[in-house]
Symmetry: C2
Subunit: 350 residues, 2 copies
């Protein structure tokens, strides 16, 4: 089969890890006799530097007409500590999510048997942990009206949600729960926030359509604690944009390295696949970044394109590299492989 894949390497370690995924995808195309057309475009700080715009029109157009977007990472410290910067790399990613309507960000988190010792958590607490986080991605405080007073003495961000925005992602999460262990946990702050009460009410309503799924409600502060105390209690987590950002990064400690965590962002038409780690500027160009999160994101992409066998093959290749410790320094301290050599290994076994 033939697919057009937009490749947006972005900033920091984005380019070096994405390169490994493209290599792996080419191996998949060879082995399974597909044709993947890769087309690259700039985004983020890289795009600001080149064109003064974190999401150039050409990049957006390319993404819109592609079958899937493979995304690297975004962000550059030179913008972070400049609160008055007019354009920011992150705007590129946020606008892309919004323009492509990628309302559901799906983040699987699991404890790898052979990496249990890598986690800061005790092995017995995480062994067998296996969850998937459904984070709403185009609403909430990320996209509500923002303002700063004329005199610069105050600022505000508005968090809004509509029933419709909640419903569409809730259905995806309930369906995922049906295919898994049949438990869904809604994380909110319904004892304080009006939007959270709307989430709770809407989810309670929808849950009637999924009688086989057990629903639990957890306040976000308690959830942040439960994630560490007893991560095995979670199957499917459903939550709004900001809480999902925090909780999913926190959950990354279960896997032993944030360099292992993939994600898919899906909408009704388009889909984008990216590692959950960021641009990791300190590591840029050193060949130490873990390409696995990006490669697993590529596997999610294959799955999304209907190529189940191919996706499974990539996942098995990754499992093998972890098992054999063909891993970057975040996982293999004593005898680590470079970003490229991990990519080479994955390519070679497919």
């Amino acid at each position: 089969m033939k697919f057009n894949i937009a490749v947006l390497p972005g900033d920091g370690i984005g380019p070096e890890i994405t390169q490994q995924s493209v290599k792996v995808l080419r191996a998949v195309a060879d082995r399974f006799d597909h044709e993947f057309n890769f087309e690259e475009a700039v985004v983020g700080a890289a795009a600001i530097d080149l064109l003064g715009d974190p999401l150039p029109e050409t990049t957006l157009e390319l993404c819109k007409k592609s079958d899937a977007v493979l995304f690297g990472a975004i962000g550059d410290p030179k913008y972070d500590n400049d609160p008055s910067a007019k354009v920011r790399p992150e705007q590129g990613l946020l606008k892309l999510r919004k323009e492509l309507g990628l309302f559901a960000n799906i983040r699987p988190v699991r404890a790898y048997e052979s990496l249990l010792h890598k986690s800061p958590l005790k092995p017995e607490n995480i062994e067998g942990a296996d969850m998937v986080i459904y984070r709403e991605l185009t609403g909430g405080i990320y996209f509500g009206e923002k303002s700063t007073a004329e005199d610069g003495k105050s600022a505000s961000d508005l968090c809004t949600y509509s029933v419709e925005e909640i419903e569409r992602i809730a259905h995806l999460a309930f369906k995922a729960a049906q295919e898994r262990r049949k438990k869904l946990t809604l994380i909110d702050k319904a004892n304080v926030l009006e939007t959270s009460r709307l989430w709770r009410k809407t989810v309670a309503e929808i849950s009637k359509e999924y009688p086989g799924v057990k629903v639990e409600y957890l306040f976000v502060d308690n959830a942040a604690m439960q994630m560490i105390l007893d991560p095995k209690q979670f199957d499917v987590i459903l939550t709004e944009n900001m809480f999902g950002d925090i909780i999913s990064d926190e959950a990354s400690v279960i896997g032993g390295s944030i360099g292992l965590l993939e994600s898919a962002s899906v909408g009704t038409k388009n889909a984008l696949f990216e590692p959950i780690h960021g641009s990791y500027p300190q590591a840029t160009g050193q060949g130490i970044a873990n390409p696995i999160a990006s490669v697993l994101s590529a596997a999610m992409m294959l799955n999304h394109l209907g190529l189940k066998e191919e996706a499974e093959t990539v996942r098995l290749a990754v499992d093998l590299s972890i098992k054999l410790n063909v891993c970057t320094i975040d996982i293999n301290k004593d005898n680590h492989y470079s970003t490229e050599r991990v990519g080479d290994f994955l390519e070679s076994v497919i």
Copy 2:
């Protein structure tokens, strides 16, 4: 010396734990020859049940004229899953914080040497961890305008901050850092939120007045991960209301039990002391709730009242009870003491 102390036991396990603190405080008064006048008042679900109001006027008045408020816990599940409830227990606590102007919530977190094994984190990762979280308590999304559309199809919460609100708590946090290890970490989401950018700008400005204090900025998603990966990096954490709620509950896993964590909420005139755990309804009336978080909150209160020796005595008594394992079931699984017996022990050694 003579002090008037308002006692607000609240809901769930609130009354049983607060009772132990009062007992301990009476022992302190005896030993050090002070006079504490305790006056009780209702708040939260208890107050709704009794008077239809989570913060009755008489309760507020009592708090205003007291030298300090000893607070139990708030919350009742019968309100949590009823998104249309008109009055909620939490409103009592939020209104109390606002009316008393308690803008700074101070939450110390440390790993107890003899409880290292109790944490879900590996002992080597937390040994020596010792931080204090300064959470802004009367601003942000907790208190901004809330609304629900007439048709119930959408809702919103506004997050606002003024420079003044940021400054007053930032000064407290910087001063604390000066007395400690001289590091302050601001947790925000400045790559997305306008209010966070105001926080970052204001804190950067204020930091010039504290040249001895090293300032670091961390995005909240990364912070949620760092808290588990390397909690020892933190000394003083400064953050806004919602992020502080999440991060401090998460940090509780370091101490081995949320039942150990005290907090102080201070303003310019009043001060309130409460455990960070909630009303823990499942445990109510069973005599299994850990009174230590409340007792340590009482110690913070003594400190606030200028009774340093007395505060230190209470803390030493708690250390002793932990050392001797005179502890409730959350800490001492095999041979646990009841809430009351832990209180009795603490009283007896003072």
